[in-house]
């Protein structure tokens, strides 16, 4: 790798040249959904600690393209930590060693000479499209099963018309920060999507607008997540620890409470 990745400060005249990191990457390469994949080793040199993990992968891909090799496919979009596209397993941890998204993980979290394993999310509900990119549409279908409110769109209603207690608003907002990245599924030993679904159920279920469909929402969303082939929750807590938005386990308890109540009240999932 000959590209220099000097940060703005090290470019100053007379400043001693700061050498970047040399890293060994072991990356999951898989040509397509039905092809068997394997870990392939690559070397990258002179990586600036100020780069994001995705920028480091960009450097690798430029190198691969120059060599005439197939670049590593990985998902990314906003690179600001809010879109939820860039999830990969880094050294066995969802989004790597920091509790953030992969795009907001910086290379300063690693040491010169490190070997870094990069794998896609692994769940039968998230099939690999290519290399590190997985198909997360299962989450969209869970949302379609009930993660919405049926209200007329149009002029914004008068804000004071429906008062919301501060505590509920705070909890709903905390849950609403979920970006649907799938780290919870990736980190869960059961590949369960419970934290994702629970965040959506909490977000809508705590607000007045979410009440009319509350029972059907929880029943249908849970039925859909089972149908998608996600595992069941055993309350281990890996999901919450991996969540870049720190969604709490409390949301799962709330989902269970709502679901058992809805089943008792006679709500049944649409088939």
């Amino acid at each position: 790798m000959t590209l220099t990745q000097d940060g703005p400060r090290s470019g100053a005249a007379g400043a001693p040249e700061k050498r970047g990191m040399n890293l060994t990457l072991r990356i999951w390469r898989q040509q397509g959904p039905t092809v068997k994949g394997k870990m392939v080793t690559y070397k990258v040199t002179d990586i600036s600690p100020d780069m994001s993990f995705l920028e480091m992968l960009d450097v690798l891909n430029e190198q691969l393209i120059l060599q005439g090799d197939d670049p590593v496919a990985f998902d990314h979009d906003c690179r600001e930590g809010i879109c939820g596209m860039c999830g990969v397993m880094i050294n066995g941890m969802a989004h790597g060693p920091q509790q953030t998204t992969t795009c907001q993980l910086h290379m300063r979290s690693f040491k010169d000479g490190d070997t870094i394993d990069v794998e896609p999310w692994r769940a039968s509900a998230f099939p690999v499209v290519k290399d590190l990119a997985v198909d997360r549409r299962a989450f969209d279908r869970i949302i379609q099963a009930g993660g919405y409110i049926s209200v007329p769109t149009g002029t914004a209603p008068e804000a004071h018309a429906t008062p919301v207690p501060k505590k509920d608003a705070d909890n709903a907002f905390d849950a609403a920060t979920c970006i649907g990245c799938g780290a919870c599924v990736a980190a869960c030993p059961n590949a369960s999507s419970m934290l994702f679904t629970a965040a959506k159920v909490t977000h809508l279920g705590l607000l007045p607008q979410g009440q009319p469909e509350r029972d059907d929402r929880v029943v249908n969303m849970v039925a859909q997540q089972d149908r998608e082939g996600f595992g069941g929750c055993t309350n281990i807590g890996e999901c919450s620890a991996a969540c870049p938005k720190g969604i709490s386990m409390e949301t799962i308890s709330r989902l269970n409470h709502d679901l058992l109540g809805a089943l008792r009240a006679g709500a049944r999932p649409k088939s």
């Binding site: 069941g232 386990m249 089943l263």
Partner: protein
């Protein structure tokens, strides 16, 4: 136009009720029944410290609860049936969720680090299998006397002595009881979550309570066999 719920579509087949969360609820409720039984069982065991007569008398009482209104060992059999149903339900839910989890991740990670999971939560499944094996041995040994030196005719107290004076039996018992303790440490917390009774404020209390109950039961169950092994009870 507001579309809310169409109530005509509410009736669906029974199978739909068997969501993963329903299975978890079955697991939680059967688990609670078993924990309540364990508390009673531990108190019964501690009667060994009151001497052979007291212990045998307690055992006799268990077989005559409700007499003469209820004939023979009716109450005892009711308890046994409830326990059997609870154990079967617990295992059904566990196996079914285990299989679901396995098919949810057919390809394993090359590298996977645990960030939050406890040793207790990691050993729930294999621990559960070992506990089941222990329960079978335990019933053959002390309830049926089939593998006990005193045989099925001996007094309960003598059977207990014969069992725990053997270091191998005591060791197996101790390992199993410690596994039960860990199972409860995670199980009590998990049941609280599953039944929707936990929240951020209660989480700390629930976890302390789970540790406390698990510790009390483990120590309570270990006191009797080790006292017998070291000759404090004879």
């Amino acid at each position: 136009m507001v579309t809310v719920t169409d109530s005509t579509q509410r009736r669906t087949p029974k199978a739909a009720k068997t969501t993963s969360v329903f299975k978890k609820a079955v697991m939680a409720i059967s688990g609670i029944i078993l924990v309540l039984y364990l508390i009673a069982h531990m108190i019964g065991n501690l009667k060994a410290f009151a001497g052979a007569d007291e212990f045998n008398h307690y055992s006799e009482w268990l077989r005559t609860i409700g007499n003469p209104a209820l004939p023979g060992a009716t109450t005892l059999w009711l308890i046994r049936i409830i326990l059997l149903v609870a154990v079967v339900a617990h295992i059904w839910a566990a196996v079914s969720l285990w299989r679901q989890a396995r098919s949810a991740r057919p390809e394993r990670y090359v590298t996977k680090k645990a960030v939050a999971q406890s040793y207790a939560s990691r050993t729930m499944r294999w621990g559960g299998v070992i506990i089941l094996a222990f329960i079978i041995f335990h019933l053959l040994d002390l309830t049926l006397g089939a593998v006990n030196a005193e045989g099925s005719d001996g007094e309960p107290f003598d059977r207990m002595l014969a069992s725990f004076q053997n270091p191998v039996v005591t060791l197996f018992y101790a390992i199993s009881v410690i596994l039960v303790g860990m199972h409860l440490r995670h199980g009590i917390w998990s049941a609280t979550q599953t039944l929707g009774q936990s929240n951020r404020r209660r989480e700390v209390t629930v976890n302390y309570a789970a540790t406390a109950i698990a510790t009390i039961l483990t120590v309570g169950f270990l006191l009797t066999p080790f006292s017998i092994l070291f000759g404090l009870i004879d």
